[in-house]
Symmetry: C2
Subunit: 206 residues, 2 copies
């Protein structure tokens, strides 16, 4: 551990260190997706990454640190969600639900999102990390995009609908929800989102 | 155990047996709410109920059986949700969100609902129980109440929004959501629900 700290260059990490760190993140992502939060151990992640457990602790502190790295650096294609947020605000509702569903329906990103949502339920610390992530990476950019009153409230109302759809459709898989096609969900949900994002809402002034 | 089975009367359980069973359910509810699914044990529930662990197994089989009893018989005030479903269908959206939020906001029922939602995330068997419960106790009655096409789809779209609001407001407690008053949430969400329940939806025929 000390050797790595001492040899770190001021301008950034050494390439070998970055590779090791990335290998640990990859192993952690695989473990959270396959075994969940409870089934994930520092030791198991270290074994898969081919490193000493002490090195995992050096980089990430503990399991919650690994989970944070999974959320932040685990390769979620969030760029697409940001692209959906940019662009014509009058069709933002449809773009948002369409992109969001596509992230959940693709096997790799869907498995990651599912693992993140499940983990947040089983660890209070992980829940705080998910909260910070949702707020900084999705709600704030979305609210900032809206040229309307109460942007934060608008963004969270839209977000509440989206996360509920994902919970029933991809996590609990309730039949009435999975029976709908993606296009049906998009067509039904988009107007609700659009109303939250740009419509008249009874929120008062201030 | 055998003694209880042999002395059960054909017409129903003996009063003493019912009292014992109820005491176990009470203990299980308390444990699930306070310690969560992972922290709940047959032994701990038996201790709180003042019975032998074998008796808990006799009545409920295992922890998942206890969880099922918690959902089905744990004293959730679902009667109020059913009353909200009955009555004028043109204001069903508002009644539904108002009643639902009130269940989450009352300390006792709110803690139970939170425990149920969290448990369903940490156990696949518990998730199946929650699915069956939501479908039979809420979605079906709601769908049945709607004199419209695609009643199941309408009910689940409304339900997806409600469960997402609860997740962000009462479980994750994201600030943009908790900053809204209950009346603001009701006023904003009710029209979305009403559109799902009785409005025009782009679901096609059939």
């Amino acid at each position: 551990m000390m050797e790595i700290m001492e040899t770190k260059r001021p301008g950034g990490r050494r390439p070998g260190t970055t590779r090791t760190r990335d290998a640990i993140i990859d192993a952690a992502v695989g473990s959270f997706v396959e075994k969940g939060y409870t089934g994930t151990t520092i030791r198991g992640v270290a074994r898969t990454a081919g490193v000493d457990p002490a090195l995992v602790i050096h980089f990430f502190g503990n399991k919650d640190g690994l989970f944070d790295a999974f959320i932040q650096e685990g390769g979620l294609p969030l760029r697409r969600l940001k692209e959906a947020i940019d662009g014509d605000v009058e069709r933002l509702g449809e773009r948002l639900v369409r992109t969001y569903l596509s992230l959940w329906e693709e096997p790799e990103s869907g498995a990651k999102l599912r693992a993140i949502l499940l983990t947040a339920e089983s660890s209070p610390v992980a829940a705080e990390m998910l909260k910070a992530f949702l707020t900084q990476e999705i709600l704030h950019p979305l609210a900032k995009r809206l040229g309307a009153d109460h942007p934060e409230a608008r963004a969270i109302l839209a977000g509440s609908h989206l996360i509920g759809v994902a919970l029933l459709r991809y996590v609990l898989r309730i039949e009435a929800m999975t029976a709908l096609t993606t296009d049906q969900v998009i067509a039904c949900v988009a107007p609700s989102l659009q109303r939250y994002l740009t419509g008249e809402l009874p929120l008062g002034t201030g």
